[in-house]
């Protein structure tokens, strides 16, 4: 009974970590897309971009100041950066997110190993109880 509860607890924790991993991955993808857009904006001659307005619809829009980028740097503060600095900042963020992903993955790995161990013990206990001929409580 207690082992099953552990298994459930670990399962819930694992779910939270998987969710966190997804969030980090989304963040990383978004930052990569932003870098691509910023670099393309400078490279293009007429500053025209496709602006998504929701529902899969887009309009062509001209960027007035492709060199002045507003970046949310954290703590709900937005600062103006040059295009190059904004790209650098986003690259830094990506590196941080990758490091976090690695840490979360490692923790998740450990949790899963523990879950496998518990499952094995549960199965062993079940087999034992079958052999004894009477249902028994685990631990």
């Amino acid at each position: 009974m207690m082992l099953q509860q552990y298994l459930k607890d670990y399962g819930q924790q694992a779910e939270i970590f998987v969710e966190q991993l997804n969030l980090l991955e989304n963040g990383r993808m978004e930052a990569s897309a932003a870098i691509e857009a910023l670099e393309a904006m400078v490279a293009s001659d007429d500053n025209t971009v496709l602006l998504q307005i929701g529902g899969g619809a887009s309009v062509r829009a001209k960027v007035l100041e492709p060199e002045k980028i507003l970046v949310a740097i954290g703590a709900e503060v937005v600062v103006e950066r040059s295009n190059k600095d904004a790209v650098e900042f986003l690259k830094g963020r990506i590196m941080e997110m990758e490091a976090s992903q690695k840490r979360v993955s490692e923790t998740l790995e450990k949790l899963r190993a523990q879950m496998t161990e518990i499952t094995k013990r549960l199965e062993y206990g079940y087999q034992q109880s079958q052999q004894m001929g009477a249902p028994q409580e685990e631990e």
Binding site: M2, E76, K110
Partner: protein, 349 residues
């Protein structure tokens, strides 16, 4: 823990060092020399050897002021300070807290006379240290609190959903148990499916008595019973778990009010996760406004490389940080020690 912030602070510190070092570099120049040169030796402008003619008093003063000592002006460190400001904001340190730190560092450095033999780095580190210590507050020594207050000490845990409240209750229970206190846990989260079983398993594992009712029962009744049990069995500490809730749900906040009326907690602890960054700070402030909070526990600090919430929370809501959750096992909770955290952050060359 807070590895990213540590790295960034190191960079900001080097920048301040080189800005101030640049002032020290030209020995004959006025101390207000601008344009920071790339990292000169920190202990520049050594004392001049004895002069041939006997020096006048004015000469002595001149040597002391212009050559031996270093006076930092606001201009010298303006760039470095703005970089430090960005560093802190990027680490999710709340704006008012960032301002407080910058102001403090500026105050301690500008107009500062470097004493002979004092290194520039020493000056910068001590300025950063006092600034951080000021915003971090004093922390909260729970064992001391319990020792100096009538038993049972009743501690109520509140916070939003899914931040690790129940696990923190178990960890703190285990911590206090190891410190030699007798503890009883009240399973006040009667709302979330499996919460009672979860805390019951924790309690069993760490050898603590738990008082529980059925799922869906009135949490006030559970916690009232827990307090009665503690009184009749002369237990030192009551740890009251509650269901996670958002401060915007008025019915749940009313329930919390009722719990407070019934069990009369000595301490209300707000639990949130460090990884939530600035959100945790904002939520803590809201909770403090609505139900009050005496201290804060931040969980998942081991997953947080920015450290923004941990740095900002005490200064923003004016309540001390009590514990940091740093891992999966029961021992992975550390009493928050501001001096230790600051030393850790500013550690390294």
């Amino acid at each position: 823990m807070f590895g990213g912030l540590k790295e960034r602070l190191q960079a900001a510190r080097n920048r301040l060092n080189s800005s101030i070092g640049a002032v020290a570099a030209p020995p004959e120049a006025e101390p207000v020399a601008t344009t920071p040169a790339p990292a000169p030796a920190p202990a520049a402008s050594p004392a001049e050897p004895a002069k041939t003619a006997s020096p006048t008093f004015v000469d002595k003063v001149k040597i002391l002021v212009l050559e031996r000592e270093l006076i930092v002006s606001e201009k010298n460190i303006a760039d470095a300070l703005s970089e430090l400001e960005m560093t802190l904001l990027e680490s999710d340190v709340a704006l008012p807290v960032t301002d407080a730190i910058i102001l403090h560092v500026q105050k301690s450095l500008v107009g500062k006379h470097r004493k002979i033999g004092e290194s520039v780095d020493g000056m910068v580190v001590s300025a950063l240290k006092t600034a951080l210590l000021e915003v971090l507050g004093k922390g909260f020594d729970l064992t001391e609190y319990i020792k100096t207050h009538p038993r049972p000490v009743k501690i109520l845990f509140t916070g939003v959903n899914g931040t690790g409240k129940t696990t923190s209750v178990a960890k703190i229970g285990s911590y206090l148990h190891k410190q030699g206190f007798s503890v009883v846990i009240g399973a006040g989260d009667t709302y979330r499916a499996g919460a009672i079983e979860q805390i019951a398993v924790h309690a069993e594992r760490i050898g603590i008595k738990i008082i529980r009712h059925k799922e869906g029962a009135d949490p006030s009744a559970v916690l009232f019973d827990t307090v009665q049990y503690a009184i009749s069995h002369k237990i030192d500490v009551v740890l009251a778990d509650t269901a996670g809730r958002f401060h915007t749900k008025s019915n749940l906040m009313n329930q919390l009010d009722k719990i407070k009326r019934v069990m009369k907690p000595d301490l209300v602890i707000y639990v949130d996760e460090a990884v939530a960054g600035n959100d945790a700070v904002i939520r803590a402030a809201e909770f403090d406004k609505t139900v009050g909070a005496d201290a804060i526990v931040l969980t998942k600090a081991d997953m947080d490389s920015k450290g923004g919430a941990a740095i900002s929370i005490a200064h923003t809501i004016g309540k001390p940080l009590m514990f940091l959750g740093v891992g999966q096992s029961y021992d992975d909770i550390i009493p928050f020690d501001p001096a230790g955290v600051v030393d850790e952050l500013l550690d390294g060359a």
